[in-house]
């Protein structure tokens, strides 16, 4: 396994995260999941946004794209839609994913595109050195909320459920085993999978290891991940649970497009064949 893992690590680029950053554990778990799934490195696409967590894509021996703030998801959507043969992983932070990029999630969910999206949630804008994020707790002092955050924090699990994302999970940087299991399952899952990872920032300390050490129980064994209302109850429960909240099978984008395509080719005069450019032009004569 050790040597196998090396396959997925960038041969020379080492993470620039602070020592102790929660994101190291995430990186490690993803690489282990790739190994577990025996993926070919050249058939992996990693797309990330901007933020400390946004540096994710640099550390793989894969085809990686480190784009702009908040746009990892639509970029990955294009990549996966054009190249369904690749395994595509998306990574970013709470700000990247839920503030500037928040508008994209619902639409990836509508397509149920077969992506795995990791949100490393440290409840702060870390790269820019400590401003409020949409998951910062009310009252917290941040650089942009010197008198305390006055907005309510978002509830990511509830939101993803309302979008009907087909695989939804939460874990923490301390639950290494659970994280590996969840990431592996998410990559295996046919369709859009989203994982909120509570990943402490040791420098800006909005979310600390203390916060995720206790009081973050696993979902009970008997939780039925196909039961949305049950999942919603856990989404609203205190303390915060970890585990797979929701997991259903519905057609992926590729399956949806194929069914459209079948329909089209049946209609097209060349049954079961695509048309040539010349044939298309003929239609406009």
């Amino acid at each position: 396994m050790k040597t196998l893992l090396q396959n997925y690590k960038h041969p020379s680029i080492k993470p620039v995260w602070c020592p102790g950053c929660g994101d190291y554990a995430v990186l490690n778990s993803v690489q282990k999941a790739f190994a577990e799934l025996e993926l070919k490195p050249e058939e992996i696409g990693v797309v990330s946004g901007i933020g400390c967590s946004g540096r994710f894509s640099h550390y793989f021996n894969s085809y990686s794209l480190h784009g702009t703030h908040g746009r990892a998801l639509p970029i990955a959507t294009g990549l996966k839609a054009a190249r369904p043969d690749l395994t595509v992983l998306v990574a970013g932070g709470d700000g990247d994913g839920m503030a500037i990029g928040g508008g994209h999630i619902a639409h990836a969910a509508r397509k149920n595109i077969d992506l795995t999206y990791l949100i490393m949630d440290n409840t702060i804008y870390a790269l820019t050195k400590g401003q409020s994020s949409p998951t910062s707790p009310v009252g917290a002092r941040t650089k942009t909320a010197p008198y305390g955050v006055f907005e309510d924090a978002l509830n990511p699990m509830a939101i993803f459920l309302s979008y009907d994302v087909s695989f939804i999970a939460r874990t923490t940087s301390l639950k290494i085993k659970e994280m590996e299991h969840i990431i592996t399952s998410a990559i295996r899952h046919p369709g859009f999978a989203i994982i909120q990872i509570m990943s402490p920032c040791v420098t800006h300390k909005s979310l600390t290891y203390e916060d995720i050490k206790e009081n973050v129980p696993e979902l009970p064994e008997n939780h039925d991940p196909t039961d949305k209302l049950a999942a919603l109850k856990y989404a609203y429960a205190e303390p915060q649970y970890t585990g797979i909240f929701y997991n259903i099978r519905k057609p992926t984008l590729e399956e949806r497009l194929t069914s459209v395509f079948d329909h089209v080719t049946e209609k097209a005069f060349n049954k079961n064949h695509t048309m040539t450019t010349s044939q298309i032009m003929e239609e406009y004569r």
């Binding site: 960038h10 680029i13 070919k40 490195p41 050249e42 058939e43 696409g45 797309v47 901007i50 894509s57 640099h58 793989f60 021996n61 894969s62 085809y63 990686s64 794209l65 480190h66 784009g67 702009t68 746009r71 639509p74 970029i75 990955a76 959507t77 294009g78 990549l79 996966k80 839609a81 054009a82 190249r83 043969d85 690749l86 508008g103 994209h104 619902a106 639409h107 397509k111 497009l257 459209v260 395509f261 089209v264 097209a268 695509t274 048309m275 040539t276 450019t277 010349s278 298309i280 032009m281 406009y284 004569r285």
Partner: protein, 614 residues
């Protein structure tokens, strides 16, 4: 295509018809059926459409022109005017030629009886009600009238009616047939003259198609090998994405509607990274939202094609009207300095080829290519020579062809992006600092070709490196591609018309080509000779084209449809000349006569020699 047609062939047949009314009255579909019927003959057709941005009401019109030779513009004046209401009459009557035919609904329109035109009241709404019990057949009644005047092939028109209304049931089709016939009969009874006979002539030349500029983009994309689009609806670009949504699945491609323009361009960036040829069509409001990702694509050196069908601005502006207002934005519309190429098609036919060229350039130079069309060319429909796809030349190793020519109907190069060799993959530098700035790009799935494409400044391997030396080196590398482009374009044929000895020169870009051409012919007929340069590459600035053109010129006119003279500004900065700038900022395209008047004014001044030489 137009550019090659250097010799002027004078038309023997040249008619212009305008149908005008209110949005929702069906004037556009009336005109389209009329135009389409003509398109099935051997005549060349050209249409121009304008309608209000409101959901209903407002001035709506279609102008149709047909000739026995290529039609270059909508024309300045009309031979026949059909008006459905007073506003349409008021706004259109001035373009009706003296002696022309005026058809109006007497229940709706008060006319100036003193006008020196042939006036025929036709109660189209009334007739429609009589015949089919509703007023909404009045546009087909009007079509019947036109059918009489220009003696349309009835069966052809009926076939087109069936195509358009067939899905609404037999009754509707029958009603329309009846309305058509009633119109023709009324025209006959009222003694409206039969001006020309389009029926019974030679059938349509099989080599021609009748398409809009927007359709030309979609077809050009498919011809160029594009199999992926992501888009978001935006007037007047929407029909490009709609056409691609219909056609791409038929050729094994994919069209995906995204949640906004940022997502659309992001998706094509992702797909291009995946190795696909990609396009996203939009207009001013949308391309503004793409600024950040245009910069990203340029930094990642990924080929993408973005179409901006310009509309009246700024802001929401005039959504259904035309303008050439986005040029500066296309060139400079990202923070920092990121190279891109801007092409501006000059006609519907040229749109098809420039689209292909846009893909070739994007793939070869690995950067965003922006295709700058506008509402007038996008909505314009014209008869276009069909390309012969057996003669398409797929250039896989593009180095064999050093320059990317203006494609032609009989020779279309289709380029593919350059991939690294096995030797290069052994120590793969995605952003190798080559002499021409182009570095081979690996396709995901290729072992050994893995790399990170990052928007951060990076070194040749793609690793982030923000040292002063590296930033300078890589900035130069990226911009070197534009130098290579410029050099390659040196070999392209001159895009000029007229005699190189003419002392008055006129430069335009984009959709004004036809109007300028006709203005030149008009001037020529008055003995004033004018040279015309109409470059299809707008940025990087076609220096050789322009400097050759400026050579021995006394007076330079630069024509564009905007307020501030955007292209003129580029020319001034580069060549230090002081052109006479002719701007139109009214949401409507230049007519040949407007440009002709400008030429004549300059010619008079030139005569008096009161203007300083360039």
């Amino acid at each position: 295509m137009a550019k090659q047609q250097k010799k002027r062939i004078k038309p023997t047949v040249d008619f212009t018809i305008r149908i005008a009314g209110e949005g929702g009255e069906g004037v556009i579909s009336c005109g389209e059926l009329f135009a389409k019927t003509i398109a099935r003959t051997s005549f060349h057709v050209f249409t121009f459409i304008t309608y209000p941005s409101e959901m209903r009401g407002g001035y709506s019109m279609i102008q149709i022109r047909f000739r026995d030779v290529t039609v270059y513009s909508m024309g300045s004046f009309v031979d026949c005017l059909v008006v459905f209401n007073q506003e349409a009459y008021d706004k259109s009557i001035e373009v009706l030629k003296a002696g022309g035919i005026l058809i109006y609904d007497p229940d709706k329109v008060n006319i100036d009886t003193a006008l020196p035109v042939q006036k025929f009241p036709v109660p189209i709404e009334h007739i429609s009600k009589d015949v089919i019990g509703k007023t909404l057949g009045k546009n087909v009644v009007a079509l019947g009238v036109l059918s009489h005047i220009y003696d349309l092939e009835r069966d052809q028109t009926k076939k087109l009616i069936l195509e358009r209304y067939g899905s609404k049931g037999e009754k509707v089709v029958e009603g329309n047939y009846a309305a058509l016939q009633a119109g023709t009969k009324e025209a006959d009874t009222a003694g409206i003259p039969q001006v020309f006979s389009l029926a019974g002539g030679k059938p349509a030349n099989a080599e021609y198609m009748f398409i809009s500029g927007n359709q030309a983009v979609a077809l050009g994309a498919i011809a160029a090998g594009c199999r992926f689009t992501a888009g978001y609806p935006l007037t007047p670009a929407t029909s490009i994405f709609e056409t691609l949504s219909k056609l791409l699945p038929l050729v094994g491609g994919k069209a995906i509607q995204m949640e906004d323009e940022i997502a659309a361009i992001s998706a094509i960036i992702g797909a291009s990274f995946g190795g696909e040829k990609v396009i996203t069509p939009t207009s001013g409001p949308g391309i503004q939202l793409m600024a950040e990702q245009l910069s990203l694509a340029s930094m990642l050196e990924l080929p993408i094609v973005v179409v901006d069908v310009q509309r009246g601005g700024p802001s929401t502006g005039l959504p259904t009207k035309t303008e050439q207002g986005d040029l500066k934005f296309a060139v400079y519309g990202s923070a920092g300095e990121s190279p891109r190429i801007i092409l501006a098609p000059t006609s519907v036919e040229d749109t098809f080829y420039q689209t292909i060229r846009a893909f070739n350039l994007a793939e070869k130079y690995q950067l965003p290519v922006i295709l700058l069309t506008d509402q007038s060319i996008g909505y314009r429909k014209a008869t276009v020579k069909m390309p012969d796809f057996d003669k398409i030349f797929r250039v896989d190793k593009f180095d064999r062809k050093k320059n990317i020519k203006i494609p032609q109907a009989d020779l279309i190069d289709i380029l593919q992006r350059q991939e690294p060799t096995d030797k290069e993959l052994a120590d793969y530098k995605r952003y190798r600092d080559t002499k021409n700035g182009i570095s081979p790009i690996s396709r995901p799935g290729t072992p050994g070709g893995q790399y990170v494409a990052t928007g951060l400044e990076h070194n040749e391997y793609g690793r982030t490196d923000q040292s002063p030396e590296n930033h300078l080196k890589m900035s130069k590398k990226r911009f070197r591609k534009l130098d290579t482009v410029s050099r390659a374009f040196e070999k392209n044929p001159m895009e000029t018309y007229g005699d190189p000895h003419d002392k008055i020169g006129i430069i335009g870009w984009g959709s004004t080509e036809g109007a300028i051409r006709e203005a030149r012919y008009l001037a020529e007929d008055k003995g004033i000779k004018v040279r015309h340069l109409h470059p299809s590459t707008i940025s990087p600035l076609p220096e050789r084209q322009i400097s050759n053109f400026l050579h021995r010129l006394d007076h330079l006119i630069v024509v564009e449809e905007n307020l501030t003279g955007q292209f003129a500004h580029f020319i001034k900065a580069k060549f230090g000349v002081k052109p006479i700038e002719v701007h139109k900022c009214e949401g409507t395209p230049f007519t040949p006569h407007e440009i002709y008047n400008a030429i004549m004014k300059v010619a008079r001044i030139a005569d008096e020699d009161t203007i300083t030489k360039l």
